[in-house]
Protein backbone atom coordinates (compact mmCIF):
# COMPACT_ATOMS: atom_id res chain seq x y z
CA UNK A 1 0.00 0.00 0.00
CA UNK A 2 1.27 3.48 -0.84
CA UNK A 3 1.72 6.10 1.88
CA UNK A 4 0.84 9.74 1.37
CA UNK A 5 2.41 12.65 3.26
CA UNK A 6 1.47 16.32 3.07
CA UNK A 7 3.64 19.26 4.04
CA UNK A 8 1.12 22.08 4.41
CA UNK A 9 3.45 25.05 4.55
CA UNK A 10 3.06 28.75 5.19
CA UNK A 11 4.70 29.62 1.87
CA UNK A 12 4.63 26.38 -0.13
CA UNK A 13 2.80 23.08 0.17
CA UNK A 14 3.51 19.69 -1.33
CA UNK A 15 2.27 16.12 -1.34
CA UNK A 16 4.66 13.15 -1.39
CA UNK A 17 4.14 9.47 -1.98
CA UNK A 18 6.02 6.48 -0.60
CA UNK A 19 5.39 3.51 -2.85
CA UNK A 20 4.58 0.36 -0.95
CA UNK A 21 6.02 -1.95 -3.59
CA UNK A 22 9.45 -0.30 -3.99
CA UNK A 23 9.72 1.83 -0.86
CA UNK A 24 10.66 4.75 -3.12
CA UNK A 25 9.52 8.22 -2.15
CA UNK A 26 8.96 11.25 -4.35
CA UNK A 27 7.46 14.68 -3.98
CA UNK A 28 4.45 15.36 -6.19
CA UNK A 29 5.66 18.78 -7.26
CA UNK A 30 4.45 21.07 -10.00
CA UNK A 31 5.61 19.28 -13.21
CA UNK A 32 6.46 22.56 -14.98
CA UNK A 33 8.74 24.03 -12.33
CA UNK A 34 9.54 20.88 -10.31
CA UNK A 35 8.83 22.99 -7.23
CA UNK A 36 6.22 22.74 -4.46
CA UNK A 37 2.99 24.67 -4.93
CA UNK A 38 2.82 28.17 -3.42
CA UNK A 39 0.25 28.33 -0.60
CA UNK A 40 -1.50 31.27 -2.24
CA UNK A 41 -5.26 31.31 -2.84
CA UNK A 42 -6.82 33.64 -5.39
CA UNK A 43 -10.56 34.18 -5.11
CA UNK A 44 -12.03 35.50 -8.33
CA UNK A 45 -15.60 36.27 -9.16
CA UNK A 46 -15.87 33.06 -11.16
CA UNK A 47 -13.79 30.64 -9.12
CA UNK A 48 -10.73 29.93 -7.05
CA UNK A 49 -7.12 29.50 -8.19
CA UNK A 50 -4.39 28.12 -5.95
CA UNK A 51 -0.65 27.74 -6.31
CA UNK A 52 1.81 29.23 -8.76
CA UNK A 53 -0.78 30.80 -11.01
CA UNK A 54 -2.36 32.56 -8.04
CA UNK A 55 1.03 33.75 -6.79
CA UNK A 56 1.98 35.13 -10.20
CA UNK A 57 -1.24 37.07 -10.51
CA UNK A 58 -0.89 39.02 -7.25
CA UNK A 59 1.08 41.81 -8.93
CA UNK A 60 -1.45 42.22 -11.72
CA UNK A 61 -4.78 41.67 -9.99
CA UNK A 62 -4.36 42.49 -6.31
CA UNK A 63 -5.92 45.90 -6.80
CA UNK A 64 -8.50 44.94 -9.40
CA UNK A 65 -12.01 44.71 -7.88
CA UNK A 66 -13.39 41.18 -7.85
CA UNK A 67 -10.07 39.64 -6.85
CA UNK A 68 -8.96 38.62 -3.37
CA UNK A 69 -5.66 36.95 -2.52
CA UNK A 70 -4.80 35.05 0.66
CA UNK A 71 -1.18 34.24 1.47
CA UNK A 72 0.23 32.42 4.50
CA UNK A 73 -3.15 31.19 5.71
CA UNK A 74 -1.38 28.62 7.88
CA UNK A 75 -0.37 31.41 10.24
CA UNK A 76 -4.02 32.24 10.86
CA UNK A 77 -5.22 28.73 11.72
CA UNK A 78 -6.44 28.47 15.28
CA UNK A 79 -6.54 32.24 15.74
CA UNK A 80 -10.18 32.83 14.82
CA UNK A 81 -9.30 34.85 11.69
CA UNK A 82 -12.13 35.38 9.21
CA UNK A 83 -11.81 36.79 5.72
CA UNK A 84 -14.54 38.90 4.15
CA UNK A 85 -14.51 37.70 0.54
CA UNK A 86 -17.07 39.21 -1.84
CA UNK A 87 -19.55 39.72 0.98
CA UNK A 88 -19.12 36.22 2.31
CA UNK A 89 -17.25 35.38 5.49
CA UNK A 90 -14.69 32.60 5.24
CA UNK A 91 -12.79 31.07 8.12
CA UNK A 92 -9.06 30.38 7.77
CA UNK A 93 -9.89 26.66 7.62
CA UNK A 94 -12.14 27.31 4.57
CA UNK A 95 -9.21 28.96 2.79
CA UNK A 96 -6.86 26.14 3.86
CA UNK A 97 -9.40 23.65 2.49
CA UNK A 98 -8.92 25.25 -0.95
CA UNK A 99 -5.20 24.43 -0.76
CA UNK A 100 -5.88 20.83 0.25
CA UNK A 101 -8.43 20.53 -2.57
CA UNK A 102 -5.87 21.89 -5.03
CA UNK A 103 -3.11 19.54 -3.79
CA UNK A 104 -5.47 16.59 -4.05
CA UNK A 105 -6.60 17.52 -7.58
CA UNK A 106 -3.08 18.20 -8.83
CA UNK A 107 -1.75 14.92 -7.39
CA UNK A 108 -4.46 13.13 -9.34
CA UNK A 109 -4.09 15.17 -12.53
CA UNK A 110 -0.30 15.41 -12.74
CA UNK A 111 0.82 12.22 -11.03
CA UNK A 112 -2.23 9.88 -11.10
CA UNK A 113 -2.09 9.61 -7.31
CA UNK A 114 -5.23 9.48 -5.17
CA UNK A 115 -4.93 11.47 -1.97
CA UNK A 116 -7.59 10.24 0.41
CA UNK A 117 -5.70 9.68 3.66
CA UNK A 118 -2.37 11.19 4.61
CA UNK A 119 0.06 11.92 7.39
CA UNK A 120 0.25 15.70 7.66
CA UNK A 121 3.14 17.64 9.15
CA UNK A 122 2.76 20.51 11.62
CA UNK A 123 5.18 22.89 13.31
CA UNK A 124 6.01 22.04 16.91
CA UNK A 125 4.22 25.16 18.21
CA UNK A 126 0.93 24.41 16.41
CA UNK A 127 -1.65 24.29 19.20
CA UNK A 128 -4.71 22.08 19.54
CA UNK A 129 -7.07 24.60 17.95
CA UNK A 130 -4.82 25.08 14.91
CA UNK A 131 -4.51 21.32 14.47
CA UNK A 132 -8.27 20.84 14.69
CA UNK A 133 -8.82 23.54 12.06
CA UNK A 134 -6.19 21.95 9.81
CA UNK A 135 -7.89 18.58 10.23
CA UNK A 136 -11.25 20.16 9.34
CA UNK A 137 -9.76 21.86 6.28
CA UNK A 138 -8.36 18.55 5.07
CA UNK A 139 -11.64 16.75 5.75
CA UNK A 140 -13.57 19.42 3.81
CA UNK A 141 -11.31 18.66 0.86
CA UNK A 142 -11.85 14.91 1.24
CA UNK A 143 -8.50 14.12 2.86
CA UNK A 144 -8.45 12.14 6.09
CA UNK A 145 -5.49 12.98 8.34
CA UNK A 146 -4.15 9.70 9.75
CA UNK A 147 -1.88 11.45 12.19
CA UNK A 148 0.16 14.60 12.56
CA UNK A 149 3.92 14.57 12.85
CA UNK A 150 6.24 17.46 13.66
CA UNK A 151 7.81 18.91 10.50
CA UNK A 152 11.50 18.61 11.49
CA UNK A 153 10.93 15.06 12.70
CA UNK A 154 9.44 14.16 9.31
CA UNK A 155 12.51 15.68 7.67
CA UNK A 156 14.79 13.31 9.58
CA UNK A 157 12.66 10.31 8.62
CA UNK A 158 12.83 11.42 4.98
CA UNK A 159 16.56 12.06 5.13
CA UNK A 160 17.47 8.75 6.77
CA UNK A 161 15.32 6.67 4.46
CA UNK A 162 16.48 8.44 1.33
CA UNK A 163 20.13 8.29 2.31
CA UNK A 164 20.49 4.66 3.29
CA UNK A 165 17.06 3.04 3.28
CA UNK A 166 17.81 1.42 6.63
CA UNK A 167 17.38 3.59 9.71
CA UNK A 168 19.39 1.19 11.90
CA UNK A 169 22.54 2.18 9.99
CA UNK A 170 22.17 5.61 11.64
CA UNK A 171 22.19 4.08 15.13
CA UNK A 172 23.80 6.36 17.68
CA UNK A 173 23.36 9.43 15.48
CA UNK A 174 22.07 12.75 16.72
CA UNK A 175 20.57 14.78 13.91
CA UNK A 176 19.74 18.42 14.38
CA UNK A 177 17.08 19.87 12.09
CA UNK A 178 16.97 23.61 11.56
CA UNK A 179 13.73 24.20 9.70
CA UNK A 180 13.21 27.91 9.02
CA UNK A 181 10.43 28.56 6.57
CA UNK A 182 8.01 31.37 5.89
CA UNK A 183 6.02 31.27 9.14
CA UNK A 184 8.07 29.54 11.81
CA UNK A 185 11.43 28.29 12.90
CA UNK A 186 11.44 24.75 14.27
CA UNK A 187 14.59 23.28 15.73
CA UNK A 188 14.58 19.63 16.68
CA UNK A 189 17.28 17.27 17.84
CA UNK A 190 16.54 13.67 16.91
CA UNK A 191 18.36 10.71 18.36
CA UNK A 192 18.41 7.35 16.61
CA UNK A 193 18.85 4.31 18.81
CA UNK A 194 17.92 0.71 18.15
CA UNK A 195 16.18 1.66 14.92
CA UNK A 196 13.86 4.06 16.79
CA UNK A 197 13.78 7.77 16.12
CA UNK A 198 13.08 10.06 19.02
CA UNK A 199 12.88 13.82 19.49
CA UNK A 200 15.21 14.62 22.36
CA UNK A 201 14.90 18.38 22.10
CA UNK A 202 12.55 20.76 20.39
CA UNK A 203 12.31 24.53 20.20
CA UNK A 204 10.41 26.97 18.06
CA UNK A 205 10.04 30.61 17.14
CA UNK A 206 6.58 31.52 16.02
CA UNK A 207 6.14 34.37 13.55
CA UNK A 208 9.86 35.06 13.22
CA UNK A 209 10.60 33.67 9.80
CA UNK A 210 10.47 34.50 6.10
CA UNK A 211 7.26 36.53 6.30
CA UNK A 212 8.78 38.65 9.05
CA UNK A 213 11.85 39.28 6.89
CA UNK A 214 9.61 40.39 4.04
CA UNK A 215 7.90 42.81 6.43
CA UNK A 216 11.27 44.15 7.59
CA UNK A 217 12.38 44.69 3.99
CA UNK A 218 9.00 46.34 3.29
CA UNK A 219 9.35 48.67 6.27
CA UNK A 220 12.86 49.59 5.21
CA UNK A 221 12.09 50.40 1.57
CA UNK A 222 8.94 52.32 2.47
CA UNK A 223 10.85 54.46 4.96
CA UNK A 224 13.46 55.14 2.25
CA UNK A 225 10.65 56.08 -0.16
CA UNK A 226 9.16 58.44 2.44
CA UNK A 227 12.57 60.00 3.04
CA UNK A 228 13.30 60.46 -0.67
CA UNK A 229 9.99 62.19 -1.36
CA UNK A 230 9.83 64.11 1.92
CA UNK A 231 6.41 62.73 2.92
CA UNK A 232 5.17 62.28 6.43
CA UNK A 233 5.56 58.60 7.42
CA UNK A 234 1.93 58.16 8.48
CA UNK A 235 0.80 59.28 5.01
CA UNK A 236 2.40 56.28 3.31
CA UNK A 237 0.83 53.15 4.71
CA UNK A 238 0.28 50.71 1.86
CA UNK A 239 -3.09 48.96 2.02
CA UNK A 240 -4.92 46.21 0.15
CA UNK A 241 -3.55 45.47 -3.28
CA UNK A 242 -0.56 47.81 -3.01
CA UNK A 243 0.44 46.10 0.19
CA UNK A 244 0.11 42.68 -1.47
CA UNK A 245 2.29 43.83 -4.39
CA UNK A 246 4.86 45.30 -2.03
CA UNK A 247 5.07 42.05 -0.05
CA UNK A 248 5.39 40.02 -3.20
CA UNK A 249 8.25 42.21 -4.36
CA UNK A 250 9.97 42.16 -0.96
CA UNK A 251 9.83 38.36 -0.92
CA UNK A 252 11.34 38.23 -4.41
CA UNK A 253 14.08 40.69 -3.41
CA UNK A 254 14.89 38.68 -0.29
CA UNK A 255 15.25 35.47 -2.32
CA UNK A 256 17.48 37.21 -4.88
CA UNK A 257 19.79 38.40 -2.08
CA UNK A 258 20.61 34.78 -1.23
CA UNK A 259 22.43 34.45 -4.57
CA UNK A 260 23.37 38.06 -5.43
CA UNK A 261 24.84 40.92 -3.47
CA UNK A 262 22.36 43.53 -4.60
CA UNK A 263 18.79 43.79 -5.85
CA UNK A 264 16.01 46.29 -6.40
CA UNK A 265 12.57 46.41 -4.86
CA UNK A 266 10.22 47.96 -7.40
CA UNK A 267 6.48 48.56 -7.14
CA UNK A 268 4.88 50.51 -9.94
CA UNK A 269 2.21 53.12 -9.05
CA UNK A 270 3.02 52.66 -5.39
CA UNK A 271 1.69 56.00 -4.14
CA UNK A 272 -0.52 58.71 -5.61
CA UNK A 273 0.18 62.31 -4.67
CA UNK A 274 -1.03 65.52 -6.30
CA UNK A 275 -2.64 63.62 -9.19
CA UNK A 276 0.64 61.87 -9.99
CA UNK A 277 1.54 58.20 -9.55
CA UNK A 278 4.88 57.56 -7.89
CA UNK A 279 6.75 54.28 -8.29
CA UNK A 280 8.72 52.69 -5.48
CA UNK A 281 12.20 51.87 -6.70
CA UNK A 282 14.73 51.20 -3.96
CA UNK A 283 17.95 49.24 -4.13
CA UNK A 284 18.90 46.88 -1.36
CA UNK A 285 22.19 45.08 -0.73
CA UNK A 286 22.85 41.86 1.12
CA UNK A 287 24.67 43.44 4.06
CA UNK A 288 21.79 45.90 4.55
CA UNK A 289 19.33 43.01 4.54
CA UNK A 290 21.46 41.07 7.00
CA UNK A 291 21.49 44.06 9.34
CA UNK A 292 17.69 44.21 9.18
CA UNK A 293 17.29 40.59 10.23
CA UNK A 294 20.27 40.36 12.60
CA UNK A 295 18.13 40.22 15.74
CA UNK A 296 15.94 37.49 14.22
CA UNK A 297 19.00 35.43 13.30
CA UNK A 298 20.35 35.83 16.85
CA UNK A 299 16.99 34.72 18.24
CA UNK A 300 17.12 31.66 15.98
CA UNK A 301 20.55 30.61 17.20
CA UNK A 302 19.41 31.16 20.76
CA UNK A 303 16.79 28.48 20.07
CA UNK A 304 19.51 26.13 18.76
CA UNK A 305 21.47 26.66 22.00
CA UNK A 306 18.34 26.11 24.08
CA UNK A 307 17.52 22.83 22.33
CA UNK A 308 21.07 21.50 22.76
CA UNK A 309 21.20 22.65 26.39
CA UNK A 310 17.91 21.01 27.24
CA UNK A 311 19.07 17.75 25.72
CA UNK A 312 22.50 18.14 27.42
CA UNK A 313 24.16 17.67 24.05
CA UNK A 314 27.14 19.79 23.04
CA UNK A 315 27.69 21.02 19.49
CA UNK A 316 30.49 18.46 18.77
CA UNK A 317 28.14 15.64 19.77
CA UNK A 318 25.72 16.48 16.95
CA UNK A 319 26.31 14.03 14.10
CA UNK A 320 24.52 15.85 11.26
CA UNK A 321 22.64 19.08 10.74
CA UNK A 322 19.85 19.39 8.19
CA UNK A 323 18.98 22.86 6.96
CA UNK A 324 15.41 22.96 5.70
CA UNK A 325 13.13 25.78 4.59
CA UNK A 326 13.67 28.88 2.52
CA UNK A 327 15.00 31.06 5.35
CA UNK A 328 17.79 28.55 6.00
CA UNK A 329 19.22 29.46 2.60
CA UNK A 330 19.97 33.04 3.67
CA UNK A 331 23.79 33.30 3.49
CA UNK A 332 24.25 34.73 7.00
CA UNK A 333 22.31 31.80 8.48
CA UNK A 334 24.28 29.27 6.48
CA UNK A 335 27.62 30.90 7.44
CA UNK A 336 26.76 30.82 11.12
CA UNK A 337 25.74 27.17 10.82
CA UNK A 338 28.98 26.32 9.00
CA UNK A 339 30.95 28.07 11.73
CA UNK A 340 29.26 25.97 14.38
CA UNK A 341 28.92 22.59 12.71
CA UNK A 342 31.38 22.63 9.81
CA UNK A 343 31.32 19.53 7.62
CA UNK A 344 28.42 18.03 9.54
CA UNK A 345 26.10 20.39 7.71
CA UNK A 346 24.21 18.27 5.20
CA UNK A 347 23.15 19.53 1.78
CA UNK A 348 19.69 18.06 1.42
CA UNK A 349 19.10 17.55 -2.28
CA UNK A 350 15.32 17.35 -1.96
CA UNK A 351 15.00 20.03 0.73
CA UNK A 352 11.71 21.30 -0.75
CA UNK A 353 9.97 17.96 -0.44
CA UNK A 354 11.84 16.09 2.29
CA UNK A 355 9.27 16.91 5.00
CA UNK A 356 6.38 15.58 2.92
CA UNK A 357 8.47 12.54 1.94
CA UNK A 358 9.15 11.79 5.60
CA UNK A 359 5.44 12.00 6.32
CA UNK A 360 4.73 9.66 3.40
CA UNK A 361 7.17 7.11 4.85
CA UNK A 362 5.44 7.35 8.23
CA UNK A 363 2.12 6.71 6.45
CA UNK A 364 3.44 3.82 4.36
CA UNK A 365 5.17 2.05 7.25
CA UNK A 366 2.21 2.82 9.54
CA UNK A 367 4.55 4.19 12.19
CA UNK A 368 2.94 5.42 15.36
CA UNK A 369 4.16 8.31 17.53
CA UNK A 370 5.06 7.45 21.10
CA UNK A 371 5.86 9.70 24.04
CA UNK A 372 9.58 10.19 24.17
CA UNK A 373 9.56 11.44 27.75
CA UNK A 374 7.43 10.64 30.77
CA UNK A 375 4.56 13.01 31.53
CA UNK A 376 4.33 13.68 35.24
CA UNK A 377 2.43 15.65 37.85
CA UNK A 378 4.29 17.62 40.45
CA UNK A 379 2.89 16.87 43.88
CA UNK A 380 2.74 19.03 47.00
CA UNK A 381 5.60 17.14 48.59
CA UNK A 382 7.78 18.06 45.56
CA UNK A 383 7.85 14.52 44.20
CA UNK A 384 6.73 13.63 40.68
CA UNK A 385 3.91 11.23 39.90
CA UNK A 386 4.24 9.58 36.48
CA UNK A 387 1.02 9.65 34.47
CA UNK A 388 2.50 8.36 31.20
CA UNK A 389 5.72 6.42 30.98
CA UNK A 390 8.14 7.17 28.15
CA UNK A 391 7.26 4.89 25.26
CA UNK A 392 3.48 5.17 25.65
CA UNK A 393 1.86 5.05 22.20
CA UNK A 394 0.16 8.35 21.45
CA UNK A 395 -3.14 6.91 20.30
CA UNK A 396 -6.53 8.14 21.47
CA UNK A 397 -7.75 4.64 22.40
CA UNK A 398 -6.32 3.57 25.69
CA UNK A 399 -4.47 6.77 26.51
CA UNK A 400 -7.08 8.14 28.93
CA UNK A 401 -6.06 8.34 32.56
CA UNK A 402 -8.30 9.25 35.49
CA UNK A 403 -6.72 10.46 38.71
CA UNK A 404 -8.12 11.45 42.08
CA UNK A 405 -6.07 13.94 44.06
CA UNK A 406 -6.66 15.91 47.22
CA UNK A 407 -5.93 19.54 47.91
CA UNK A 408 -3.40 20.06 50.69
CA UNK A 409 -3.90 23.81 50.99
CA UNK A 410 -7.27 25.25 49.99
CA UNK A 411 -6.88 28.71 51.57
CA UNK A 412 -6.84 30.51 48.22
CA UNK A 413 -9.75 28.49 46.84
CA UNK A 414 -7.52 27.24 44.03
CA UNK A 415 -5.74 23.94 43.47
CA UNK A 416 -2.69 24.06 41.20
CA UNK A 417 -2.24 21.04 38.97
CA UNK A 418 1.34 21.24 37.68
CA UNK A 419 2.07 19.04 34.66
CA UNK A 420 5.68 18.38 33.78
CA UNK A 421 7.75 16.50 31.24
CA UNK A 422 11.00 14.90 32.39
CA UNK A 423 13.80 15.63 29.96
CA UNK A 424 16.31 13.02 31.02
CA UNK A 425 15.68 9.50 32.33
CA UNK A 426 16.47 9.05 36.00
CA UNK A 427 16.95 12.77 36.63
CA UNK A 428 13.90 14.22 38.44
CA UNK A 429 15.52 17.67 38.48
CA UNK A 430 15.30 17.75 34.68
CA UNK A 431 11.50 17.87 34.77
CA UNK A 432 10.18 21.03 33.16
CA UNK A 433 6.74 22.45 33.81
CA UNK A 434 4.54 22.28 30.72
CA UNK A 435 1.30 23.61 32.12
CA UNK A 436 -0.29 24.81 35.36
CA UNK A 437 -4.03 24.20 35.57
CA UNK A 438 -5.89 26.19 38.21
CA UNK A 439 -8.90 24.35 39.59
CA UNK A 440 -11.47 26.02 41.84
CA UNK A 441 -11.87 24.39 45.26
CA UNK A 442 -13.79 25.38 48.37
CA UNK A 443 -11.85 27.82 50.57
CA UNK A 444 -13.73 26.69 53.66
CA UNK A 445 -11.77 25.00 56.42
CA UNK A 446 -11.79 21.28 55.59
CA UNK A 447 -12.92 18.75 58.13
CA UNK A 448 -10.08 16.57 59.45
CA UNK A 449 -9.28 13.73 57.00
CA UNK A 450 -11.68 15.13 54.43
CA UNK A 451 -9.48 17.24 52.22
CA UNK A 452 -11.21 18.26 49.04
CA UNK A 453 -10.94 15.81 46.16
CA UNK A 454 -9.88 16.92 42.69
CA UNK A 455 -10.72 14.69 39.73
CA UNK A 456 -8.39 14.85 36.75
CA UNK A 457 -8.74 13.23 33.32
CA UNK A 458 -5.85 13.19 30.86
CA UNK A 459 -5.96 11.85 27.31
CA UNK A 460 -3.85 12.14 24.16
CA UNK A 461 -6.16 12.94 21.26
CA UNK A 462 -5.87 12.14 17.56
CA UNK A 463 -4.04 15.46 17.01
CA UNK A 464 -1.23 14.50 19.43
CA UNK A 465 -2.48 17.01 21.95
CA UNK A 466 -2.58 16.07 25.62
CA UNK A 467 -5.98 17.20 26.89
CA UNK A 468 -6.42 17.83 30.60
CA UNK A 469 -9.78 18.25 32.31
CA UNK A 470 -10.15 18.72 36.04
CA UNK A 471 -12.77 19.69 38.59
CA UNK A 472 -13.10 19.54 42.35
CA UNK A 473 -15.73 17.82 44.44
CA UNK A 474 -17.40 21.07 45.51
CA UNK A 475 -16.85 23.40 42.56
CA UNK A 476 -18.16 21.63 39.49
CA UNK A 477 -16.64 24.05 36.99
CA UNK A 478 -14.28 22.09 34.76
CA UNK A 479 -10.82 23.54 34.18
CA UNK A 480 -9.20 22.52 30.90
CA UNK A 481 -5.78 22.76 29.30
CA UNK A 482 -4.02 21.44 26.23
CA UNK A 483 -0.38 20.55 25.83
CA UNK A 484 0.68 20.33 22.21
CA UNK A 485 4.48 20.43 22.34
CA UNK A 486 5.37 17.09 23.89
CA UNK A 487 8.34 15.23 22.41
CA UNK A 488 7.57 12.14 20.37
CA UNK A 489 9.34 9.15 18.90
CA UNK A 490 8.20 6.84 16.12
CA UNK A 491 7.83 3.09 16.10
CA UNK A 492 5.78 0.37 14.50
CA UNK A 493 2.35 -0.16 16.07
Amino acid sequence: MNGIGIDFGTTNSVVAICEGRTGRTRGLTDPDSNLPHPSVVWFRGDGVEVGRRAKHQIQGFAEVPGNFFVRSVKRELGKGKRYGIFGEEKAASDVAAEIFRFLKNRAKRDHKVDVEAAVVTVPVHFDGRARRELRKAAADAGVHIKTFIHEPFAAVVGYCKNARQDITSFDGSRILVFDWGGGTLDVTLVQIQGGLLAEVGTGALDDIAGDRFDARVGGHVVSRFVETHGFRTELVTPQGGTRARLWEECERGKIVLSSRLQTKVQVAQFFRRGGRDLDLDESMDRSGFEKLIRQDVDAAFHIVDKVLNEARVSEPEVTRVLLIGGSSRIPVVRQEMEKRFGARLVEVANADTIIAEGAAIVAQEDLCPFLQRPVQIRLADETLYTVYEAGTLAIPDGSQKNLTLFCTDNRDGVAHLVIAERLRPGDPSSAITKEIVDIGVSAKLPAPYEHERVYVTLAIDQDLVLEVKAHSATQRKVATAEIHDLAFGLRAR
Binding site: I377, A380, L405, F406, T408, D409, N410, V418, L445, Y449
Partner: protein, 75 residues
Protein backbone atom coordinates in the same frame (compact mmCIF):
# COMPACT_ATOMS: atom_id res chain seq x y z
CA UNK B 1 15.42 38.41 33.51
CA UNK B 2 14.59 34.91 34.69
CA UNK B 3 11.70 34.77 37.18
CA UNK B 4 12.55 33.69 40.70
CA UNK B 5 9.01 32.79 41.64
CA UNK B 6 7.15 29.61 40.84
CA UNK B 7 3.73 28.15 41.48
CA UNK B 8 4.03 24.99 43.52
CA UNK B 9 1.52 22.21 43.53
CA UNK B 10 -0.96 21.84 46.36
CA UNK B 11 -2.25 18.47 45.23
CA UNK B 12 -1.44 14.93 46.30
CA UNK B 13 -2.55 11.59 44.93
CA UNK B 14 -5.28 9.93 46.95
CA UNK B 15 -4.16 6.56 48.26
CA UNK B 16 -7.07 4.31 49.18
CA UNK B 17 -7.27 3.58 52.91
CA UNK B 18 -4.78 6.27 53.86
CA UNK B 19 -7.16 9.21 54.34
CA UNK B 20 -6.00 9.53 57.93
CA UNK B 21 -2.45 10.31 56.77
CA UNK B 22 -3.39 13.11 54.38
CA UNK B 23 -2.76 15.73 57.07
CA UNK B 24 0.99 15.10 56.67
CA UNK B 25 0.95 17.09 53.41
CA UNK B 26 -0.92 20.14 54.74
CA UNK B 27 1.42 23.16 55.11
CA UNK B 28 2.65 23.63 58.69
CA UNK B 29 1.33 27.19 58.92
CA UNK B 30 -2.18 25.94 58.08
CA UNK B 31 -2.42 22.64 59.89
CA UNK B 32 -3.20 24.20 63.25
CA UNK B 33 -6.47 25.58 61.89
CA UNK B 34 -7.65 22.13 60.80
CA UNK B 35 -6.11 20.01 63.54
CA UNK B 36 -5.61 22.36 66.56
CA UNK B 37 -4.45 19.60 68.87
CA UNK B 38 -1.57 18.63 66.53
CA UNK B 39 0.26 21.87 67.23
CA UNK B 40 0.02 21.50 70.94
CA UNK B 41 3.64 21.47 72.13
CA UNK B 42 3.07 17.99 73.61
CA UNK B 43 1.97 16.55 70.25
CA UNK B 44 3.81 18.53 67.66
CA UNK B 45 6.76 16.17 67.26
CA UNK B 46 4.45 13.19 67.20
CA UNK B 47 2.11 14.37 64.46
CA UNK B 48 3.92 16.88 62.29
CA UNK B 49 6.69 16.15 59.82
CA UNK B 50 9.98 18.04 60.11
CA UNK B 51 8.96 20.22 57.17
CA UNK B 52 5.61 21.03 58.75
CA UNK B 53 7.30 22.00 62.02
CA UNK B 54 9.62 24.39 60.15
CA UNK B 55 6.69 25.89 58.28
CA UNK B 56 4.66 26.17 61.49
CA UNK B 57 7.47 28.00 63.33
CA UNK B 58 8.08 30.30 60.39
CA UNK B 59 4.90 32.23 61.13
CA UNK B 60 4.89 32.26 64.93
CA UNK B 61 5.11 35.72 66.51
CA UNK B 62 8.46 36.04 68.27
CA UNK B 63 8.19 37.02 71.96
CA UNK B 64 11.29 39.23 71.60
CA UNK B 65 10.66 41.22 68.42
CA UNK B 66 6.88 40.64 68.17
CA UNK B 67 7.19 39.75 64.51
CA UNK B 68 7.10 36.41 62.65
CA UNK B 69 10.90 36.49 62.44
CA UNK B 70 11.51 32.70 62.39
CA UNK B 71 14.27 33.18 64.96
CA UNK B 72 16.23 35.67 62.88
CA UNK B 73 15.94 38.63 65.27
CA UNK B 74 18.85 37.32 67.33
CA UNK B 75 21.16 37.17 64.34
Amino acid sequence: MEPNLTVTSNLMIVVEGQDDREYRYVPGDYIGQIYPNFIDSRNIDKYLTKKQIIEFRQYLICHKCHKPCAGTCDL
